[in-house]
């Protein structure tokens, strides 16, 4: 992997920009607040539909990005797109997503909002992140199908 240094720096800058916009969007959307996330999942109770607007807006704009990608041979700052290959729906995907959903419902936190909320210095968020990293490590040590795992 030898590539000019400026490319690596430009990629890091692009990632910093994308991360900042993601964090700003999360903060604005209300998804940083576990009470509202759980309110969205509480469809049989006092339902808060706002997260449907978050997801709808996010997918709509991301869809434009995916559409533009089809007309590009490579991304602006790399030699190729790094997208997961299409694979069939399998037991690991469903079981893993089911386990994820239980944890998401319990505390109202998922990886993105938890990382963004870390900057607010709340002890429960720090505890959640530590437990989440432990959960990832437990999976990779004991339940990974092959070293490295896979992506969506």
């Amino acid at each position: 992997m030898t590539r000019p240094t400026w490319i690596s720096s430009a990629q890091a800058l692009a990632a910093l920009l994308a991360g900042s916009i993601f964090g700003l969007g999360l903060s604005m959307s209300g998804m940083l607040d576990p009470v509202r996330v759980r309110g969205f999942l509480d469809v049989a109770g006092d339902w808060d539909p706002s997260l449907a607007f978050v997801l709808g807006g996010a997918v709509a704009v991301a869809f434009v990005g995916m559409f533009l990608r089809r007309h590009l041979r490579r991304p602006a700052l790399d030699t190729a797109f790094h997208l997961p290959a299409t694979a069939p729906v399998d037991t690991r995907l469903i079981l893993g997503s089911a386990i994820f959903g239980i944890g998401w419902g319990m505390a109202g936190l998922c990886p993105g909002p938890a990382l963004a909320a870390l900057s607010l210095g709340l002890a429960p968020v720090m505890l959640f992140i530590t437990a989440m990293l432990a959960g990832m490590t437990i999976h990779d040590r004991m339940a990974a199908p092959h070293p490295g795992g896979s992506r969506p």
């Binding site: 910093l16 969007g25 607040d33 009470v35 969506p152």
Partner: protein, 136 residues
């Protein structure tokens, strides 16, 4: 509807971030994937930069709006720990979370992501409902 404008615009910013990361770096904006690769020591500068940006987000919001975003965690600490373990384990086993499957995967019309989102929404709804019934 007015009450949902911040959610819609916030969501669109999340989508813009995912589009930028794809078109500039060719990468999927999946937080569990980015965090996983970071902890495994893969492409550290880029993945670390994204996470730093994510943590800057609330400060940018404060610059724009004048207030910190609300974060209220009513769950007890043992529940928070259990939830964190399940979210970490499940996101690795299911190859993604709300961002990778929920935003990028759905925008790519990926059948795997559609199945993942339907599954974690269902178990999330069941979990919240059961917890409300158990502790009203």
């Amino acid at each position: 509807m007015i009450a949902y404008w911040p959610s819609l615009i916030g969501g669109m910013l999340i989508g813009l971030s995912a589009a930028l990361l794809l078109l500039l770096n060719g990468r999927v904006a999946g937080i569990s994937g980015i965090l996983g690769r970071l902890t495994q020591g893969s492409q550290v500068p880029t993945n670390a930069a994204f996470v730093v940006g994510l943590m800057i987000g609330p400060s940018l919001y404060r610059l724009v709006s004048g207030a910190w975003p609300a974060v209220t965690i009513p769950a007890s600490l043992p529940v928070v720990v259990m939830a964190g373990l399940l979210v970490g384990f499940g996101s690795r086993m299911g190859s993604g979370c709300t961002s990778g499957h929920g935003v990028v995967g759905l925008a790519r019309l990926s059948p795997r992501s559609l199945a993942a989102v339907a599954t974690f929404l269902t178990t999330g709804i069941v979990t919240v409902t059961l917890m409300r019934l158990a502790v009203p």
